[in-house]
Symmetry: C3
Subunit: 277 residues, 3 copies
């Protein structure tokens, strides 16, 4: 198994390491990871995805990294540390997926990314040669993830980190409605963003247009209005839109759809599709 | 028209792209922009101005970029995305102003910068050659602003983005009191910062010194105490100071002047100038 | 006195400047510092430690920089601006400590770093040649700290900034319990992190194991349970752990120990050590 990807030339000189944690921005935890990385791989370019995830919210982390990883150059190394099991026997994965590298605890964080790619390779990160000398029990971000990412950026093949490991790919995290012949499809709320947009797990190439129609049922509300932009939507009206990640979303112009509907992540929603043709 | 600026040598190698959005720091939106930029312009240096602006607050964004852009090296590209009209027919501007580049929606975000410079050039960003292949209706930050900024960093002249466009320069966004012969000057609150400092739209080279004096009236309060430092101010007393951007500010030592005065942005203030000479 | 450190080769090309301020992330203050630095030292790599410190909280700042500085490559320049005395006669220090550089107001911010190192050199930063042309009274971060840091990154020896200055090293900021022959040791709460972990000022190489034991008294509570990981701890139970900086901490699985105990920074705690051997 050769899991070593070919980096584009500029990546060899300035490998990108993108960081996502729940460490917040008022302590020194993220800086410690950066210090370790730059000590081992001084030419790495560090990018913060976010550190302001809700503490220990593995699903939120998984959604965020899924929503942005494909915009990055091939070879980018994503270091994802939302890790309630730190210090226990939970495994740490290094995976090459779709031309990218991911380091993450084996706790489901990568499930959205994995379900979007047809093939991937992964290893169980166990080789202490690539860890800090002294490994704390509560901060593997600094003592394992950061040094491993830096060595990867330096060109160490990921197979050196440990033995190949199989990771299950979840099915049905996303649903597709484009080709659905059903009139009702059940989905759920995958994410609520800063603006209160409700992002469902329903992928669509486009919103159904007349003579087709779509209704979105959430709680005891049924929304049928569509708008492709916030501006064009009726003031104070909830509307269905196609989000920038290809997922169907529900929004409210100049307001929070989530607040209006008291919506929470994981809540069930139902799509009602009508073909009037 | 040749709107192409001459970059300093180091900028050619590491062009700076400075980002300012209202996307917050807990989603993947900012990271998506960075991924797109680095995919097109791998040598760009990315700087975050801020992403924690109040959602859709175009004026706040405009003040912040005005307050810091002149500290950056010539040739820096500022990408400003606070864009309630995303996906509609609002225009996107690329402007070269005072040796800097700015990409922003044509919604007034750049008005403070524009009013501070005597000349500028701008184009209407319409050439899809420099956009993402698929353009969402709700995330032009990723699909238009980011790729355009990256191409600009790669040396594409801004005239390639679209036709020249005239942008009106607002007058009287700032007032100058140094040379004022009036005894009363009306101004307003331009910004309230993290510390509760109240920043007015009144530019001054220095605070008037005895035998001159200045009083600042806000609501039913009249403040005459001056201090050039927080430390030297009387404890619990409001004082007038000359802020770091050359604007007259009102502060409270170890406290929030804005909270004390229930001040809000846009509120009218009045400067009373006395020349006892 | 030659306080000039030898940079590793890669640091010469890409010196790291790490920034820590209480300027928050919604204004243009941090960006202004970065603009100034990049104008003078275009090849500097900028790293944010944090800007979301509680305003004017010098101790919090001091703890955070202490907790992470040793992870960075030798030669890194730490710029620490939590500076209630800005514009007054308080001194600004440039210190070389343990192979690193620090710029900070002389207000105690560096006390934790200083107490961890056996020797250091420091100068009083007074040479206006390395400051901005016009120096505001309220924003030395932009007008003094940033340009001085940039010149340091460009290789200017710190002795050029001003005369050597003695800085007192505080004793007993940390206590060591490993070799303590006492059965009771008084300590205090040094920091409370984002997760509500209570970090004491008590350094230990390891937690005492049977037949030894340790009890931690805080308020009227006495905690004896130990766990090296969050996961292994009993649900809803407070436990003692050895934190990643070598300090004894108190934690609560899936919750905030600080909230549970209404703990505040500076609060006294007592360690009770028993040697049953």
């Amino acid at each position: 198994m050769s899991a070593r990807l070919k980096f584009p030339t500029h990546m060899k000189r300035h490998p990108i390491i993108a960081l996502l944690t729940d460490f917040g921005s008022s302590d020194g935890y993220v800086a410690s990871m950066k210090g370790v990385i730059l000590s081992i791989a001084p030419h790495a370019s560090l990018i913060d995805i976010t550190h302001d995830l809700p503490p220990q919210d593995v699903r939120h982390a998984g959604y965020v990294v899924w929503s942005c990883y494909r915009t990055f150059p091939q070879g980018t190394i994503f270091v994802c540390v939302v890790d309630p099991g730190v210090g226990t026997k939970r495994k740490i994965l290094c995976a090459s997926i779709g031309g990218y590298y991911f380091l993450a605890p084996d706790n489901g964080l990568l499930k959205y990314v994995l379900s979007s790619e047809s093939s991937f390779k992964s290893v169980d990160v166990v080789n202490k040669k690539y860890f800090a000398k002294n490994i704390s029990t509560t901060f593997h971000g600094r003592d394992i993830f950061a040094p491993a990412a830096a060595h990867l950026a330096n060109g160490i093949p990921m197979k050196n980190f440990g033995p190949a490991i199989r990771v299950a790919q979840s099915k049905k995290l996303f649903i597709r409605i484009d080709d659905s012949s059903k009139s009702r499809v059940n989905g759920e709320i995958l994410h609520i963003d800063r603006f209160g947009n409700i992002i469902t797990n329903c992928l669509a190439k486009s919103l159904p247009k007349s003579p087709k129609s779509i209704a979105l049922r959430i709680g005891n509300r049924r929304i049928t209005e569509q708008s492709l932009t916030y501006e064009a939507a009726g003031k104070g009206k909830l509307f269905i839109t196609l989000g920038s990640s290809g997922l169907i979303e529900m929004s409210l112009k100049n307001g929070s759809a989530a607040k209006r509907l008291s919506a929470i992540r994981g809540q069930q929603v139902q799509f009602q599709l009508e073909h009037h043709a």
